[in-house]
Symmetry: C2
Subunit: 353 residues, 2 copies
């Protein structure tokens, strides 16, 4: 297939290696996988996980849960605080699939019990220190109230945590151990399972013993942000935006590509004061090289401005394609209409209508 | 229509006022409008401009030009550097519509002449000081070469500039006057028209005399970034993301909404060291209030974290809807499957497949 515009390439072999690595770690750790499918948004890529025995998944919205339920997934957790306004849609999915929701307040649980019509499980969302949402683990009174409000319709399943502060922490092992110290006593006291996820700690810890369920998702693709954290090597990144070169400004060491915020998102990482919205690599006949040849320093709606040294620029002409490794693969994937594998096959994903 | 999940509301009355204001300014300035449709991505919203005599539009990609050509627009400029890889698609649009492309190098123009099969116009993209792309205006040799290479197939139409540095400049009038000082002598010497666009200067200047064509587009919706620049008042913002409240953390003055980076984008503005990914407002029966009641201080894939004072939080419960004025409406619009007007009508837009 001839590529003529920004196209997110996916290297299935790399993704399969990434999935296998996490599946083996789950086995060693005596845990099971419930990968977060918010990274790839694709039924076909979801199927890749089945090869390694994965039968449960995580979604970040009710719409996404519906999409994967329609694709045959029958054990799904919506890892986002329960939205009472979507209770009818939740009930519909729960009519044919085992579905879990997230609860973090009495008010949410009261509304779930009043509005949901088919049995669902609920996890109590615990704030492991990220302070995005969740119950403060020291609030034992609230935790007790939430556990004891379990009914046949909306039944308690365990505790769920997302240590999102691993994205900023210099000591990821400590974040993981601190998380276990919060979650294990809750499980011992109240029962249920421990569901744990975040790609940095799930990638960087060799052993995740102590958690029952591994919910991370980004590892299927990884991205430049995960490189910065140390979760993966450049060889592990599974997606790359093929981007046409449309202008060359050798005098200021810049190449302009067709590949902007509507393809990569505006996610950036700070690298010593300079921003990176992605890293340029050369494309090759099997996919892309593993050597960074430029930095996406600025981005607007359709333009990516790539800084590059003179020698590298000399090899390029207008109409060439270069690859951009995304800073955040989940957001880049959300922005696509489809993927193209490095073998030339089109892969469908969720379409927003 | 009952809103149950993040939904981009559009207030048609406000948008029509914004369009009218720019149409009147164009008349005063003896210029015509070629609004940039990359803001709204919608044939139906494009039609709103026709009411004020607009018959030409601007697109940011070949796909977008194709979409608007299919919707009946027959005079379109693709305001993005010519991508030779899409020459067949450009030729196809040019078979039935008057189409202009952007050129900023000899190599681009050479490829256009060799690859495009139906007549198109070209504008020479001039770098007005933003340094994103375009020809340095002091490079008269290149400009002369580009003008003189005009053919019947690919014919010279004029000079195009986007003063994107108005987004950071303390003196927008100066940027506009400096831009005219660059563009007017080029027109006098080489002919063609002056096409000028960027919402800050087109909004803030009372008179745009000197330019022939006004290409700005954001003004149909405006957004919080334009408020910060001074391009509009809060009453002018035409879109607002209705967002369900899913968690309330009164102790830290935060409300969590279902409304994240996949709905608003990761665009932020810096407000004295604090980031803003959007501003919270109350929804009302006619749309939304014009008083800011909270700041979207953090955003992840589906979550928006809104800081809000205690009194305001006390009025909210889980399952309520609040509005978020986007920081960048063009990117928020790109992320939607459709719009909903404040009168409850669904509006279709471009869908990525």
């Amino acid at each position: 297939m001839k590529i003529i515009k920004p196209t997110l390439l996916v290297d299935k072999d790399k993704c399969m290696r990434n999935i296998l690595r996490m599946a083996e770690k789950a086995k060693t750790s005596n845990a099971f996988l419930r990968p977060h499918f918010k990274t790839h948004h694709s039924a076909e890529i979801g199927d890749w996980f089945r090869q390694y025995g994965v039968s449960k998944c995580t979604a970040s919205s009710v719409d996404m849960a519906k999409y994967f339920a329609d694709a045959g997934w029958n054990d799904i957790t919506i890892a986002f605080p329960y939205n009472p306004l979507e209770s009818d849609e939740i009930s519909e999915i729960a009519a044919s699939a085992s579905l879990n929701i997230l609860i973090e307040s009495e008010e949410s649980l009261r509304q779930a019990n009043s509005l949901i019509k088919n049995p669902v499980g609920y996890f109590i969302k615990i704030d492991l220190g990220t302070h995005r949402t969740g119950v403060d683990p020291s609030n034992t009174q609230l935790i007790e109230t939430l556990v004891s409000a379990s009914t046949d319709l909306v039944s308690f399943k365990g505790f769920i945590g997302h240590a999102g502060h691993t994205y900023y922490s210099p000591d990821i092992e400590k974040v993981f151990q601190d998380s276990l110290e919060i979650l294990k006593p809750l499980k011992e006291k109240y029962g249920g399972i421990i569901s744990y996820g975040d790609s940095p700690s799930c990638s960087m810890m060799d052993d995740l013993s102590g958690v029952d369920e591994i919910r991370a998702g980004n590892y299927v693709f990884y991205d430049w942000m995960q490189i910065g954290i140390g979760s993966c090597q450049i060889e592990d990144i599974g997606v790359c935006l093929a981007s046409p070169v449309v202008a060359i400004h050798k005098d200021r060491g810049e190449v302009v590509v067709f590949g902007g915020a509507v393809h990569l998102s505006k996610e950036s990482v700070d690298e010593g004061g300079a921003k990176s919205f992605g890293k340029a690599v050369r494309l090759n006949e099997n996919g892309w090289d593993h050597e960074v040849i430029g930095n996406v320093k600025k981005i607007s709606q359709e333009h990516g401005i790539v800084s590059m040294d003179e020698k590298e620029i000399s090899n390029l002409k207008i109409g060439d394609l270069i690859g951009i490794l995304p800073t955040h693969s989940c957001l880049a994937a959300d922005l696509q209409g489809h993927y193209l594998t490095t073998k030339g096959e089109k892969i469908q994903k969720i379409i927003k209508v």
